[in-house]
């Protein structure tokens, strides 16, 4: 078959199908599908914005909680023995006596803790973790909904932060002492 005949054959097919197109109802279906698609995309965009905002908020909270904080060092409190007791234990002649410092017993202050407040939601369940005692600014209490006076925002408070197996700070509780 020669070239011209192929060209003619293809032209004939093209002519025959020239009017073939989808019906008007297909156009309406397409438009409705487009509308649904746009609505879905809008929701996805909003979810992404909210997700990013949430992540930023979580980051701010964590920064507020963890950045200025440090593990409270074990304070060694050197208490001098009262002069009267010291004088009474020193004998007059040599040899010089061993000076014993007598530390008076102090009553331990009672520790009061708040309930744990969740910090971040993790996809993995809590399996094991570490409770870390920290000093945090009192403003951190506000982030979990506790009331703090404006003039106490920069005060330091003790807090226990529960860190999960994934190194995420899962929860926090605040500590105060009653004498």
């Amino acid at each position: 078959m020669c070239e011209e005949r192929v060209t003619e054959a293809l032209k004939a097919l093209r002519r025959t199908d020239a009017g073939v197109e989808t019906g008007p109802e297909a156009g309406i279906r397409a438009l409705l599908a487009f509308r649904r698609q746009q609505r879905r995309r809008k929701l996805q965009r909003m979810a992404a914005v909210w997700g990013a905002t949430g992540a930023m908020a979580a980051a701010v909270v964590l920064t507020a909680l963890l950045w200025p904080a440090r593990e409270t060092p074990h304070k060694l409190i050197a208490i001098e023995a009262p002069a009267a007791i010291a004088a009474a234990t020193v004998p007059a002649p040599v040899p010089p006596p061993e000076v014993k410092r007598v530390v008076p017993r102090r009553e331990e202050p009672e520790e009061i803790v708040t309930p744990f407040f969740p910090l971040v939601e993790s996809s993995s369940p809590f399996e094991r973790g570490l409770l870390v005692r920290m000093t945090v600014p009192a403003s951190a209490m506000r982030t979990v909904g506790l009331k703090v006076g404006d003039d106490h925002l920069s005060d330091s408070v003790q807090a226990d932060v529960l860190v999960g197996q994934d190194d995420l700070a899962r929860a926090i509780r605040f500590v105060s002492y009653r004498k």
């Binding site: 020669c2 003619e8 293809l10 004939a12 009017g19 397409a30 487009f34 746009q38 809008k42």
Partner: protein, 184 residues
């Protein structure tokens, strides 16, 4: 053509912002060509309608990838339609061609001379029997309105490849149709 292309680019920009009117306008202008492309590639009108809709929805999703310096919006649309058709063809085994042809024999065909119609159907069968690589070149450049440049963009190959595939396809068609006596 240039004006049309600029108008279509403008419509695409509006469509990407979610403008329904722009979507409807672009659909109105180009759905026929896409529908025929799918029909000639698959021989199925139901698939042609589905894929035409999917093509325009995909344009709304991925239209930002369109680069005006590389070709027309139509070529981009052909490219999307082609990908969707190839996916469908991978999934679905081709059915009996005669059965497929009956599916889209429209009212217009009834008016045609029976002999001529049979001849056209022979051509249709011959085109459908071409390997997809060659078929798409024929469908775009011979049965559709695509220029070689547009076809190259849609098929993701150089213009020279389009030309050589077209030549090869025409040779195959000549062989297939040689045995039939066409009354066109």
């Amino acid at each position: 053509m240039g004006q049309m292309s600029a108008a279509e680019q403008q419509l695409l920009r509006r469509l990407l912002k979610g403008d329904e009117e722009a979507f409807a306008a672009l659909y109105q202008i180009r759905h026929g060509a896409i529908c025929r492309f799918v029909l000639h590639m698959t021989g199925r009108m139901d698939l042609a309608e589905d894929v035409t809709q999917e093509t325009f929805l995909a344009l709304a999703l991925y239209g930002r990838r369109y680069d005006a310096s590389r070709g027309s919006v139509m070529a981009f649309l052909y490219g999307i339609a082609r990908n969707l058709v190839l996916k469908r063809m991978d999934k679905e085994r081709p059915e009996d061609t005669a059965k497929l042809l009956d599916e889209f024999a429209g009212d217009e065909d009834v008016l045609l001379d029976l002999t001529r119609r049979e001849s056209v159907d022979e051509v249709r069968r011959a085109v459908l029997s071409l390997p997809p690589l060659y078929r798409e070149a024929v469908v775009l450049c011979e049965l559709g309105d695509a220029s070689y440049e547009d076809a190259a963009l849609a098929l993701g190959c150089p213009v020279g490849t389009v030309r050589s595939r077209l030549n090869r396809a025409r040779a195959m068609l000549a062989k297939k149709l040689a045995a039939t006596s066409l009354a066109l």
